[in-house]
Symmetry: C2
Subunit: 269 residues, 2 copies
């Protein structure tokens, strides 16, 4: 991975030796929004006869994606990242690819996942996909514009505020809804608590590890030192986010960063 | 297991040797409604220092059950068997019992089950439990009375109609909502299709194996020969079932059994 979070293709080619069986790559990274060139990865996997799985949880229905155009053997999606219900996901498996179930039980879902079907989840997920697919281009453009505006304001108006991940904000390089910033001299965790008081929901690192105090492994992989990884803040927008909300959030973030820096033992004075 | 579906305690004691680690028993059987004496099983497990898990999916909120009164280490429940949502379940784990997750990922649910929580499922399940627990005794009695009436009518009015599983219909021997019958000379599958035309939803064997043509392993374990296991029909009632619905179903079952027997190559003539 390079410093912006993109796959190192030289490294990947090296690892695709005779023993390689599977490549699994996140399409759009959940923390820093880096969009991998899965078309190129798919081609490489095909050439080396390696199964290719991509986790498209963050990108599905946010940017266009066609399994007929790209060599993908398996693709993971879920409901709640596209305004569908929580607790439901799906795995696309290309015809001809065989996988083992994770555990035994009934013969449900082609013997791959035992248990009574989550009917409300499935129906809600399908409906959400239908709605989101309709205006995918329009929504991506709208969210990207608002995101770009927010990044610009924050980086212009707060000293030592840096964008983690891809610096190129175009739709094929960075998820349109993703912002990941770091502010020198403060901790992301304190930032979160103060922002939460203002009704602003943000996160440091990944929500999946929110119970842990470890810094984000993604930010560490970019080469950031621990203290910088700890000072990071992830913000995500959606098609429902308004410019007024963004302006409100920017003002509050400015205020909170300033307050925290005043009490920080790390601040240069 | 004996011919009515109850655990053979002599056999169980024999198997609880030094190498036994875990006993897992269905509390109320999903096909024939047999309620195991889990208090006695729990005592035995405790004596032999063996972990005891019970699948209470069918019995939870249908008959009283208290993990403080019975030695149970783990207990499985789910939502849709008690008028809650599909796609949600729960595992009670007694304090002190440690289990490994089935697969890796995020740190959710005490590191036991990765993935974003199914919030609507959890809330709906909890509400359903709250509602069902309130009138558990009253509902059990009401459903049992209607079930007993239905069994009596079917067995009285249809020749060679037999009840599979426990013959004792009391609340501590058979789930109050369960009926499992066999009719000589006909196949359960044909019965299902015809009843479905009349809006009567029934099943042969377990719904979990509905995609398979194998006869129910539970009925085979009772000692029933294949052709008899194949001729079985499972009906389940709920607190919402009315006497009118039961009478309607009885009439239709009588009619369909008669029709199928007329064309059956097996019928004694």
């Amino acid at each position: 991975m390079d410093k912006e979070g993109f796959i190192d293709f030289e490294q990947l080619e090296k690892e695709l030796d005779d023993q390689a069986l599977l490549v699994s790559v996140i399409h759009g990274n959940n923390e820093i929004g880096a969009i991998q060139d899965i078309k190129r990865i798919g081609k490489l996997c095909k050439k080396h006869n390696v199964v290719f799985h991509t986790d498209a949880t963050q990108s599905f229905c946010k940017i266009p994606l066609d399994v007929n155009d790209i060599h993908i053997d398996m693709l993971t999606m879920n409901g709640h990242k596209l305004h569908g219900p929580k607790g439901i996901g799906a795995l696309y498996i290309k015809s001809g690819i065989k996988i083992d179930p994770l555990y035994g039980g009934g013969a449900h879902e082609f013997r791959l996942r035992p248990g009574t079907h989550n009917v409300p989840g499935i129906v809600g997920f399908a409906k959400a996909v239908e709605i989101q697919q309709k205006d995918i281009q329009k929504n991506a453009k709208q969210v990207k514009e608002l995101r770009d505006y927010m990044v610009k304001r924050l980086c212009d108006e707060i000293e030592e505020c840096y964008l983690n991940g891809p610096q190129d904000l175009s739709l094929d390089k960075r998820l349109p809804n993703n912002i990941n910033l770091r502010f020198s001299y403060i901790e992301g965790e304190s930032l979160l608590f103060r922002l939460s008081d203002f009704g602003i929901m943000a996160s440091t690192g990944s929500a999946c590890s929110s119970a842990s105090l470890k810094p984000s492994h993604v930010l560490l992989a970019l080469g950031l030192p621990h203290e910088k990884a700890h000072g990071s803040l992830r913000l995500t927008l959606s098609k429902y986010t308004t410019k007024e909300e963004v302006d409100y959030a920017v003002e509050k973030i400015k205020k909170v960063v300033e307050e925290l820096r005043e009490i920080s033992p790390l601040t240069k004075r």
